[in-house]
Symmetry: C2
Subunit: 240 residues, 2 copies
DNA sequence: ACCTGAACACCGTTCAAGT
DNA sequence: ACCTGAACACCGTTCAAGT
């Protein structure tokens, strides 16, 4: 899945081409080129913006041509997700301790999903697929390095992975909502806050008590705090 | 965004007559009736099986009629999800300790998503909506009861919630995959296991080492083990 | 007020026909 | 082998027209 091919998009070519000249591709279609274009489309137009028609238009071809290189839409989205995940994991230099490595890995994934919200949904949809296995493997190695006994390793990896996926899914939903409603993060949190304040004071006492702190809170810091809670739990369960 | 309307569920009150004056005919369309039919359709045919056409057919009406009671498909799915979540939370008797209550709550949600896999996806898609707020509130109260200091409560609730949502999302994906491919859980895990065994032995050493244990493992027990790890982490961070 | 059902603007996917 | 683009079988949603 090495995607180094460069290709340029002429979306700023305002002048409409002559009726006689159809936009021509410069080089042939490739699975990698298709995936790269899909990533750009997903990033710029959101989950709903990726369409075989819009994608084929961007690649100056017909919808049917894509099916020669890609099995179907699930395959396409999964491959796009895997490209992002593989790049994200490739960047990690590794921390001083296994715990640091896990923190670094988790933050890298958090940031990647923040930049590409659709990755959060794609990860949730594709259990056991390559992108998830990559993450599983990385976490597993660090959990082993942490000294967790063999029989508890799977459950331990599972907590970390599912927590990361859970946060990722929520971030994806936030990003998607903000996009389709044309508002930014601050406006989204402000709206959420006032919606929570409108809830029944008795039935939702806890939720309401946090409503006004919502707009100011730091997603990333909270996410990391969650990772630390889990790491603490692991340490206390397998203290040596 | 009008999902705050209170509606009561009479799932077991099969023969409760309406004492109040009911100008509507007995079989007239109702938001509740629509939501109930949507739940049945989602349960029996999966996420892709819910269609305004299939639903209207089941209710012996036209697709357009549904829009009088329901804003759009998101609204419909969210309301269906909320009905399941509300029922699930209503069953909880509460545990002996806050920790037990959290365990009980988490297991109840796990089982509900197991029975209705689409609820996992619906929860992931609707951040801050009523169904998620219900869960948030319940967890929040128990976290308070656990003695977690004020400033750490939000992050603590967040770990538990996101972990539950993460597992729920994965279970939803599993259920969806098994349904669309017409296989059961055992066949799914067996296929996953052999797929993992086909991975590169060096690059995926950890994953492969767990591939043969995959078919026999207990999702529910692993889920609960994860909850316990988080509860341990919370306890060790705020030891009194 | 509530319901009908045709119509609109899409979608993923297929496939005979081309090169 | 790879690509084309029309065609198929769907969607969610709207809306004039009915009761």
């Amino acid at each position: 899945m090495n995607i180094g091919t460069t290709f340029h998009l002429c979306q700023d070519a305002v002048m409409a081409p002559k009726k006689t000249s159809t936009p021509r591709r410069e080089d042939s279609l490739t699975r990698d080129r298709i995936i790269e274009a899909a990533i750009e489309l997903l990033d710029s137009t959101g989950e709903g913006g990726l369409t075989f028609r819009s994608l084929s238009e961007r690649l100056a071809t017909g919808p049917g041509a894509l099916y020669w290189h890609v099995a179907n839409k699930d395959d396409l989205v999964n491959a796009a997700c895997d490209a992002i995940v593989a790049r994200t994991l490739a960047d990690g230099a590794g921390g001083a301790t296994p715990g640091d490595s896990i923190r670094e890995l988790a933050l890298a994934l958090f940031d990647a999903i923040d930049r590409h919200p659709w990755v959060g949904s794609a990860l949730a949809a594709a259990h056991g697929q390559l992108p998830m296995v990559r993450i599983l493997e990385r976490i597993g190695r660090q959990v082993r390095a942490l000294g967790v006994p063999e029989e508890a390793q799977w459950a331990t990896v599972s907590v970390l992975l599912n927590y990361i996926l859970g946060v990722g899914g929520q971030n994806a939903a936030n990003g998607q909502f903000a996009r389709t409603h044309g508002i930014d993060r601050d406006a989204f949190l402000a709206a959420l806050s006032s919606r929570w304040l409108a809830l029944d004071p008795e039935e939702f006492a806890f939720t309401r008590s946090f409503a006004d702190r919502l707009p100011a809170h730091d997603d990333r810091a909270d996410f990391l705090a969650g990772i630390d809670v889990i790491l603490d739990g692991i340490a206390s369960a397998h203290a040596r």
